[in-house]
Amino acid sequence: MDIKTMKRLLSFCRPYMKYLYCALLCSSGQIVFTLLTPVFIGQAVDHIIGQGLVAFDLLFQKMLWILGSVLIAEIFDWLVVRLSNRMTYAITKDLRDQLFEKYETLPLSYIDSHAHGDLLSRMVNDIDLIGDGLLQGFTHLFNGIATIIGTICFMLYIQTTVALIVIVLTPLSLVVATIIANKTYKYFQEQLALRGELGAYVEEMIGGVKVVKAYGYEQTNQERFEEINQRVYISGVKSQFLGALANPSTRVVNNIVYASVCIAGSLYVIGGSMSVGALSSFLSYANQYTKPFNEISNVFTELQTALACASRVFHLLDIDSSPKQGPTKTLSHIQGHVQIQHLSFSYRDDEPFIEDFNVEAKPGQTIAIVGPTGCGKTTFINLLMKFYQPQHGQICIDGIDIQDMSSDYVRSLYGMVLQDSWLFQGSIKDNIAYGKKEATDQEIIEAAQKAHAHKFIIQLKDGYDTMISEEGGNLSQGQKQLLCIARIMLVKPPMLILDEATSSIDTRTEKQIQEAFDLMMEGRTTFIVAHRLSTIQKADQILVMNHGQIIEQGKHEELLKKHGFYHHLYYSQFEIQK
């Protein structure tokens, strides 16, 4: 077991120590009274000896004792569960909140290079499993151990020899449990791996079922699936059988203990050193005796899983994302003069990506960036916005290095519209007012009008109050982008970063987006990833990028005259048309 992770997980309990202490206290009380009950029942039975030999007054007395101990034990039990619930759910909430905070502060390069599904699964599934493990641990671990010790003490108190029989037989149960657990573990791993394989295959093939059908691949596909499925079956029968063994196996040990107690106990009763009632108490102990063992072994499996999950979560929490405190320079009057000098950036230490990059954007200029996919356009934008940190060189706005300004401040200087428009679950109004919470309805409508979004919004059932479903599923791609433009129109940032859409927007909407872009760009320094010629032609500067470098730089006509890469790019698009 991973002690370090365990310790760290327990450190999350610290704010809830008072719950923990109370729970342990209640748990102890519960165990004592639960164990007392069979003793009292046994004593009560001793007052029911035979015909005419029932001592009713004493029986009543014992009955009251039984009732009392049952009630006290159950109140304690209820408290234990309540307290551990409170503690567990508070801890999982804390963990989730911390992890979320981590996600909000992690370097973007980390989030970009990791599958979102994985990050999400740590937030949801892993923390859920941690919660399960903690709950089991809190309620059953202490309880189980204490019950075993308590039972042994009580038995020793009632009759030493019979108690010793039980104690001697105990390891038998443990040995059986370990043997099974070890055997099962191997098969469970195998079964999990196979299920994973089957799941991945299903995900892929059902996900691509339209392609499978288009190419008539069904037959082969079915055969491959059935082959994996057959392997799942064979290993499944084994692992399920072994997994299901634990229960009857501990039961048989339990029954053997029970029979032994019965024989030895009865002989002692004959010998006169024990009463029939005490035998009955013993038998009910023997009956319940393996239960805590089972529970403890369950706790260990669950804790094992919880720790594995916790170490995955802690791994994320340990990534350094501490914001560099200090830089707080601001600009009084923003001109929008951007100078980029000797900028270098690499994703991996050994492979430089962007190298010695130099650009100057004068206030109000439009800088178009063109180049094939993967040429570094997006990386450049990430550097401008201080999403990524450059290895060398600097970016200055109005003469001040952005390293001397806070990230939030740098980002507030730009308005950004990306190709994949991001909307969140909420009303259209909320989505537009995302950058300016206090905006009035009038301002929001104005912004929407400028972004050509007003018309389609008022045609929706609830107008500006229409709820956007998960990831904007009820809007078209173009409409989503118009909303994102409206969002920027509302905050009126001094500079812009735009990413033109390559496709999948119909002509009319595209025209509207184009007009909205033009309106926004007026008088603002703009960096635009261009796919349209009109944009390129109007630009004050074109950066032609390839493999992370600016290979040509200048105005449209100048670049054409060079007969270089740009010339090739430009003509290749229209070659067929000529």
């Binding site: 039975v45 039984i66 034990a73 209820w78 759910y89 859920d128 288009a214 009865s266 698009q573």
Partner: protein, 566 residues
């Protein structure tokens, strides 16, 4: 459905069931044997008898164990077999779906149904054999035994058992819906997290981290409160049942005392009765567990049943594609409605061998739908489509689709090598054929890789860029050298140089080609251009003709060309 998939394992199921009952029966005998030991062995001080009966207890324990093992083995075999058989059949059923069926359930849902849902059902089958028979048998058996020992005291059992059942039912029926609510709240927490990961740039650009954190914490706080709420309720389960059972034991002690005093009952029998009462409690808990599993399984059952019940509307034909005369594809007044709304309306046109056809129109104009009618992924609701002068329904689906090389909008690749992916379209394609197709599709970047066409693609092609994926899917269509090549807006992620080179390469092919696009430049040189608007064919002809006659086409051209052609 249960029966159908259990049928091959009927024998195993019955054997498993039977042995479980025997085990439960052995368990029921134990308290009686113990009572005998106390009442006879101890009373008469008969050591021999005690040892004999004690040995019987040991034998019962071992026999019970053996029975349990047999039961577990057959239960595992039955449930796993059931699940495997069911999954195979579901996978087959999904293969037979037409696209409308697939869209109806949705791909993510199909995936969970074939994996998680069948696992739940499998578990339900195993539990039925292992627990569903045992628990009620033990409850009833305990009652019967109580009656055999003493009728008046058995009446206490008759009263206590329903109260016990009611308490368990009460707590569970109240808390189960709350658990569902918590699950929903967890989905909400997960949604916020997903939104934040997807929109992280925008959130940081607006410096909204704090606001998002608050939104998230509100959601987790709400979840925590709900969990504590339901915890309050479910914490009642153990104490309440325990109190009920112990009260019943008190009554048994009192009534037992009266009976013993009157000589109708012995001390050992009182102990046996107490044991039976405890047995009932344990069995009821086990049974409640089975009910929870059943509850889950019923929902899963419905979802699985739905997958199997869907009958694709499209029926297979018999004819093979041959070299008949006539146009390759003819649409004769074809209309198509999709999920209740008109998607295509009254289309008529023909495509001849060797022609290049362009289809243009905005999003939602019906372009993709139109081309999906040709491989019969969807079936026309009105009118008739002919392939080589024969109704499309006459052809076998396999042969029809074999003729077509379709490149869908979404570039889908599977785990495996590049070659395996390309060979999906033509199983026995040689390395040279694959390379040639890649070359045609402008996917020569593969040559630069260390392992060439044997390079590995990870799931979903995450190690490739969008443009690379698109070119590979185009190569896949080309490798089968189809009579009809259909490109459904499949070059959208390509930069314009590559796009142009690709168009040029495809123009040299002799095949009949249909190109769907939103860009005029992609289709303006086609032999025939179909202009679609809101599911209607509003223009058909060459570029020059359409420029004169078709208003919508003119609009599209001017909106794009003014920007694109200097």
């Amino acid at each position: 459905m249960w029966m159908k998939y259990l049928k091959p394992y009927r024998k195993e199921a019955v054997i498993g069931f039977f042995f479980k009952l025997i085990e439960a029966f052995f368990e029921l005998i134990v308290p009686i044997v113990v009572a005998d030991i106390i009442d006879y062995g101890i009373l008469h001080q008969d050591q021999q008898y005690i040892l004999q009966r004690g040995l019987l207890l040991l034998v019962l324990a071992l026999l019970g164990y053996a029975c349990a093992l047999v039961c577990q083995y057959f239960a595992s075999k039955t449930s796993q077999g059931f699940g495997t058989y069911l999954r195979n059949d579901m996978f087959k059923a999904i293969h037979a779906y037409d696209y409308e069926n697939i869209d109806e359930i949705g791909i993510p849902s199909l995936m969970t149904r074939i994996t998680n849902d069948t696992n739940q059902l499998q578990l339900a089958v195993a539990m039925t054999i292992r627990l569903a028979s045992r628990s009620p048998f033990l409850i009833l058996g305990s009652l019967v035994m109580a009656f055999r020992i003493s009728v008046p005291i058995a009446l206490i059992f008759i009263c206590a058992a329903p109260i016990l059942a009611l308490a368990i039912y009460g707590v569970m029926s109240k808390s189960l819906p709350l658990y569902l609510k918590i699950q929903k709240q967890l989905d909400h927490v997960s949604l916020i997290c997903r939104e934040n990961l997807a929109g992280i740039r925008v959130i940081r650009a607006f410096s909204k981290q704090k606001q998002e954190k608050e939104r998230f914490q509100q959601a987790t706080q709400k979840q925590k409160n709900m969990q504590i709420q339901v915890g309050k309720l479910s914490a009642l389960l153990n104490p309440s049942t325990s109190v009920i059972v112990n009260c019943a034991i008190l009554v048994i002690l009192y009534a037992g005392g009266l009976q013993v005093n009157a000589g109708h009952l012995t001390q050992g029998e009182v102990i046996a009765l107490i044991n039976y009462m405890n047995q009932i409690l344990l069995s009821m808990f086990a049974f409640a567990n089975v009910i929870v599993i059943y509850n889950k399984a019923t929902a899963c059952y419905k979802r699985v049943q739905e997958v199997l019940a869907i009958q694709p509307a499209i029926q297979d034909g018999k004819c093979l594609i041959d070299n008949q005369e006539g146009p390759l594809v003819t649409f004769d007044h074809v209309s198509f409605s999709y999920q209740g709304s008109h998607a295509l309306h009254d289309l008529s046109f023909s495509i001849h061998q060797g022609e290049t056809i362009g289809i243009i129109g905005g999003t939602g104009s019906g372009k993709s739908t139109l081309i999906h009618l040709i491989p019969r992924f969807y079936e026309a609701t009105q009118g008739q489509i002919y392939i080589k002068n024969r109704p499309i329904q006459d052809y076998s689906l396999f042969s029809l689709r074999q003729m077509i090389g379709l490149v869908p909008q979404q570039a889908t690749l599977f785990t495996g090598t590049i070659k395996e992916n390309i060979c999906l379209a033509k199983e026995n394609a040689s390395d040279d054929e694959v390379k040639q197709a890649l070359h045609l599709a402008q996917a020569s970047f593969v040559d630069e890789w260390k392992d060439g066409i044997y390079s590995h693609i990870t799931q979903g092609g995450y190690n490739l860029s969008g443009g690379q994926k698109q070119r590979l899917t185009i190569a896949r269509a080309l490798v089968r050298n189809p009579e009809l090549l259909i490109l459904d807006d499949s070059a959208s992620a390509l930069d314009f140089a590559t796009d142009a080179a690709l168009r040029k390469a495809i123009a040299t092919l002799p095949q009949t080609t249909i190109i769907v696009s939103q860009r005029v430049s992609a289709i303006m040189h086609a032999d025939k251009i179909l202009v679609l608007s809101h599911g209607e064919l509003v223009g058909m002809g060459k570029h020059d003709e359409l420029m004169k006659t078709c208003e919508i086409y003119q609009q599209i051209v001017t909106s794009q060309m003014s920007k694109e052609v200097a």
